[in-house]
């Protein structure tokens, strides 16, 4: 990853931190807005086989209307020393690249020099530095992955990322897919673990934190057991995503070699033997794929002697999200958050090693919950299959036993079957499709719609009171209680904050190096669930929020100027379809997550 990508990361991170902290975003509300990132490459006049690149970062709307320019420039320069920033600020009257019309005046220019592959990012389109095409491509892929990780946690933030190379424009939009109707919920359904305090090693140099680092894990299976029809899939791989304060992705200093000391040992997070799994690090992480790239990846290997172990590559992926947040009794300043990022970027490994036991404990517990849910879902699926089998056999028994030809003929004709054998096959197929479809709808994402439908059946009630035979099917696999757990979870976080506030050190004290044993994880009874757009997270699935990737030729051909390029910014609001109930529910739920991830405002 070259300096371009790093610079984009740092600037975006800085902007979002500034956005969250300085702009009056009410606690619990989601960040909402749009950022434009564009890279334009032209044949270099100074170097062969190189591209002269100009990068622009701009905002749409009035996201940063309250930003004080001089202060901003000063702060951004202090953050990007390696880039030897020479920052300029183009005013509203300044000229903009043609593709950026309609965007508000916020644009950034800075220049880095002194490095072999120095690069200049400016809005004016004039660069003095050239770059190999391969390097540019790598940087773009890395940036895309970074954007994907951001929108997983900030679903109302939208990124328009465009690359223009020698006149050919390619644009991707990263953001929630408003307006799309899903036939069933294809999201992952994470389980949020309880937060634990991390210990900072004494030998870790860095700022003295006036607060604590809190790790909150979240785990989910992908594809969701609610979607997967193969209930006996084993876990095939593990993908770990690291996030710092405010839900911004962590880019470790050793990101290209993620198997640092801590993650290299696959059992450092989870005792895999408990699940009869043997995990090995997966170093084959290909940037060039249209999926979210995990920070750490493991894959399962068959353990010796376990002949029944199914290493089906179509098996499930365990997704593990590790959120490291900063909590303080005092109002957290923007630079303080930045400092935490710096600390985590450089020393996350050491911190995790120091906190190994509590980290492993809370992650293990969270994974246990997810797998238990999976197990319950698998059991419910098995019961469903068993029941359907009984139903279909009974129908076939009556059909084949009937001596009334008109009845048999009518049944065959209705399902368009030539004979009873074909009828049986079609019966099985259609029954399965219909009931599977409905079962997939029994999901907390659909719960509001379902409740609405059930209310309409007031004159003819549904079987709400089960008799003895169906009580076993009442396992809560549809997640209808997840909303309640979500609220309890947010309360649990409040308790946690209150706990830490009560024990917060005085301003003169450094962050505790080794808190007392009472920092052990809280009871799990109040664990909450959150939902994330997870369609991109499984192998072979589409990237999250990625809307469109067109060439300029396609633009001309389709006459489509709506979704592509900077014009999308101006028309974005009009393009957005009304929110559907499932989206409203999703946003409401994720707003709680954002609340957990925001810095503590203090007592």
């Amino acid at each position: 990853m070259e300096g371009t990508a790093v610079a984009v990361f740092e600037i975006l991170r800085f902007l979002i931190i500034h956005w969250k902290c300085d702009i009056d975003v009410s606690k619990g509300a989601l960040l909402e807005g749009q950022l434009e990132i564009s890279i334009e490459g032209l044949h270099s006049k100074h170097q062969a086989n190189a591209l002269h690149c100009v990068t622009t970062i701009a905002s749409a709307g009035s996201l940063f209307g309250g930003m004080v320019l001089k202060k901003f420039l000063k702060e951004i320069q202090s953050i990007l020393p390696g880039i030897s920033a020479k920052l300029t600020w183009t005013s509203e009257e300044g000229s903009y690249p043609q593709d950026m019309t309609g965007v508000t005046p916020f644009q950034m220019t800075f220049e880095r020099c002194g490095l072999a592959m120095s690069h200049r990012l400016e809005c004016s389109g004039y660069s003095q530095v050239d770059e190999k095409p391969r390097t540019l491509m790598t940087n773009c892929l890395v940036i895309k992955h970074f954007l994907r990780k951001i929108i997983m946690v900030h679903p109302k933030v939208r990124f328009n990322f465009s690359i223009k190379v020698n006149g050919i424009l390619s644009t991707e939009i990263f953001g929630p897919n408003f307006g799309t109707i899903e036939s069933h919920c294809s999201r992952i359904h994470p389980v949020l673990g309880h937060p634990v305090m991390l210990f900072i090693p004494e030998d870790v140099a860095g700022m003295d934190l006036l607060g604590e680092l809190i790790l909150t894990p979240a785990a989910a299976l992908c594809p969701s057991p609610k979607v997967s029809s193969n209930q006996l899939n084993r876990i095939y791989s593990v993908s770990i995503f690291l996030y710092g304060p405010l839900g911004l992705p962590l880019i470790l200093s050793t990101w290209e070699q993620p198997m640092t000391t801590f993650f290299k040992d696959t059992s450092s997070l989870i005792d895999w033997k408990k699940y009869h799994l043997c995990m090995v690090p997966n170093l084959d992480l290909n940037l060039d794929r249209d999926l979210v790239l995990p920070d750490v990846s493991y894959r399962a290997e068959s353990s010796e002697g376990d002949q029944s172990h199914n290493m089906d590559p179509q098996g499930q992926t365990l997704l593990l999200f590790l959120f490291v947040d900063f909590h303080s009794a005092f109002p957290v300043q923007q630079m303080e958050i930045w400092g935490v990022y710096t600390l985590l970027t450089a020393h996350l490994n050491a911190i995790l090693v120091e906190s190994h036991s509590v980290v492993q404990g809370c992650i293990q517990f969270t994974v246990d919950q997810v797998l238990e849910q999976h197990h319950q879902a698998a059991k419910a699926q098995q019961k469903l299959q068993a029941s359907l089998s009984v139903a279909m056999n009974s129908i076939m028994s009556i059909l084949t036993g009937s001596t009334r030809s008109s009845f048999r003929k009518m049944c065959l004709q209705t399902l368009q079957a030539a004979d009873t054998q074909e009828f049986g096959t079609k019966l099985h197929k259609v029954f399965r499709e219909i009931t599977q479809h409905q079962f997939l709808h029994h999901c907390s994402c659909e719960v509001k719609q379902q409740l609405t439908l059930e209310k309409k059946d007031s004159a003819q009630g549904t079987e709400d009171v089960p008799d003895n035979s169906s009580r076993e099917l009442l396992a809560d696999t549809n997640g209808q209680a997840e909303n309640k757990r979500l609220k309890r979870g947010s309360l649990r976080m409040e308790e946690m904050r209150a706990l830490h506030s009560a024990r917060a050190p005085s301003p003169s004290e450094a962050a505790p190096r080794r808190p007392e044993a009472t920092a052990a994880p809280l009871t799990p009874s109040g664990r909450a669930a959150f939902k994330a757009h997870g369609r991109a997270l499984a192998p072979g699935r589409v990237s999250p929020g990625s809307r469109l990737k067109v060439t300029e030729r396609a633009l001309r051909r389709e006459g489509c100027g709506r979704r592509c390029g900077p014009q999308a910014a101006a028309e974005g609001s009009s393009l957005r379809a009304p929110l559907f109930p499932q989206d409203v529910l999703w946003l409401q739920e994720v707003s709680n997550l954002s609340e957990w991830l925001s810095p503590s405002p203090g007592p």
């Binding site: 009984v390 009931t435 079962f439 003819q460 009630g461 549904t462 035979s469 169906s470």
Partner: protein, 396 residues
């Protein structure tokens, strides 16, 4: 054919005969309307076609990409039950229903079990064989889980198809006993004579099939408990008060016992009396015979005998006979709840004397078994209590 004249003289039954006349007059005034709604005796082909129609509906739903569902009447809901003097508790014509969906995790298993039992019924009817509910449960006990599940589904199917359980070729196991002045021929031609002896006859499992019933009985006595029934047998009660019929369901009566009582009333219009313990449980059993049960209200017309009278043991008898307190038992909390429940039922308001007796019980907070009368003498029940009650009209 006359029975051996071992009973009391004819004058003993004067009050009984007048009571019978009044009952017959009431029947004539009531017009003896045929039962409406509820289940009926259906032919085998009708049952098969009904089941095939259900399957057809399911397949039609599937072809339309809709998840099939059964619509079941809420049999055990008071909102679906009304009370009529002539019938007792019966289901209303437009009752609320519930859906047993095939695409709901909560109900898919029941949906499947209903189909399973329907297919079993289909085979029974086709092959003209019969099975009890217990037999059906044991065909796959693991699948069904417990007997109650099977019982409920069979009742639901009977209610859904509006045919009697017998028409579904499902029998309920009879546990009742009968003794006295009665003879009949069973469906298979077996001649049965219930003439009182040392032993009683088991209530047959095919009530609908019995024919050629003959009796001279002046009354039918329903006895709650088998212990009391055996006691009366031992005391030769049937001969002492001949001609009469004695029957017991050994507690809560099974379907066949109720069907037989109903058949005896419909055939002979002989006064029917109950002899139950003076406790809420006994009163409830009596109400089942007389007014029917909630769960079987859809078959009320075939099961209830509203003409039944409460002969004993009345709570007022306890005071009248000075039954000592140590023979009485305090009402438990459960008894209290049951008593309160019975007092709230619609039919109790039509029975002021019954209500008064229950209020005596509630006030005293005491109950008594029939065996409490043994404090007077071991055969007081058969020698004094019952004869006096029957001779002098001591029923309510």
């Amino acid at each position: 054919m006359a029975f051996a004249p071992m009973g009391p003289e004819a004058s003993f039954f004067e009050v009984l005969d007048r009571h019978r006349e009044s009952l017959l007059a009431a029947l004539r005034r009531g017009g003896q309307e045929p039962p409406s709604g509820g289940s009926r005796v259906a032919s085998s082909s009708e049952v098969l076609v009904s089941i095939e129609n259900i399957i057809q509906d399911i397949i039609t739903s599937l072809a339309r990409n809709e998840a099939p569902a059964f619509t079941i009447d809420n049999r055990s809901s008071w909102e679906n039950i009304k009370f009529e003097d002539s019938v007792g508790l019966q289901m209303v014509s437009h009752c609320t229903t519930r859906k047993i969906k095939s695409d709901s995790p909560k109900s898919v298993k029941k949906f499947a079990l209903i189909l399973k039992i329907l297919s079993m019924i289909y085979k029974l009817v086709q092959s003209n064989t019969y099975a009890t509910k217990r037999d059906i449960y044991y065909t796959d006990s693991q699948l069904f889980g417990n007997q109650t599940v099977v019982d409920n589904i069979i009742n639901d199917i009977s209610c859904m198809l509006k045919v009697s359980r017998r028409s579904l070729h499902i029998l309920s196991t009879s546990k009742g006993l009968i003794a006295g002045n009665l003879r009949y021929i069973e469906e298979d031609g077996t001649k049965v004579n219930c003439t009182c002896g040392a032993t009683a006859i088991a209530v047959p499992s095919n009530i609908q099939g019995i024919r050629n019933l003959v009796t001279d009985a002046k009354f039918v006595l329903i006895v709650e408990k088998d212990a009391t029934f055996q006691r009366l047998l031992d005391d030769n009660f049937c001969n002492k008060l001949s001609p009469c019929i004695m029957i017991t369901g050994k507690g809560v009566p099974d379907l066949n016992t109720r069907l037989l009582v109903k058949k005896l009333w419909d055939t002979f219009h002989v006064p029917v009396f109950t002899l139950v313990d003076a406790d809420p449980h006994g009163i409830e059993i009596m109400c089942i015979y007389k007014y029917g049960s909630m769960s079987m209200s859809f078959e009320a017309h075939h099961l209830t005998v509203p003409a039944i009278r409460w002969l004993g043991l009345l709570p007022s008898d306890l005071k009248r006979l000075n039954v000592p307190k140590d023979s009485l038992i305090p009402l438990t909390n459960r008894d209290q709840m049951k008593l309160d429940s019975i007092l709230r039922r619609p039919y109790v308001t039509r029975q002021p004397f019954w209500r008064k007796e229950m209020e005596i019980m509630a006030d005293s907070k005491m109950k008594a078994e029939i065996q409490a009368l043994t404090f007077l003498s071991s055969d007081y029940l058969s020698r004094v209590y019952l004869p006096n009650k029957l001779k002098f009209g001591g029923w309510i």
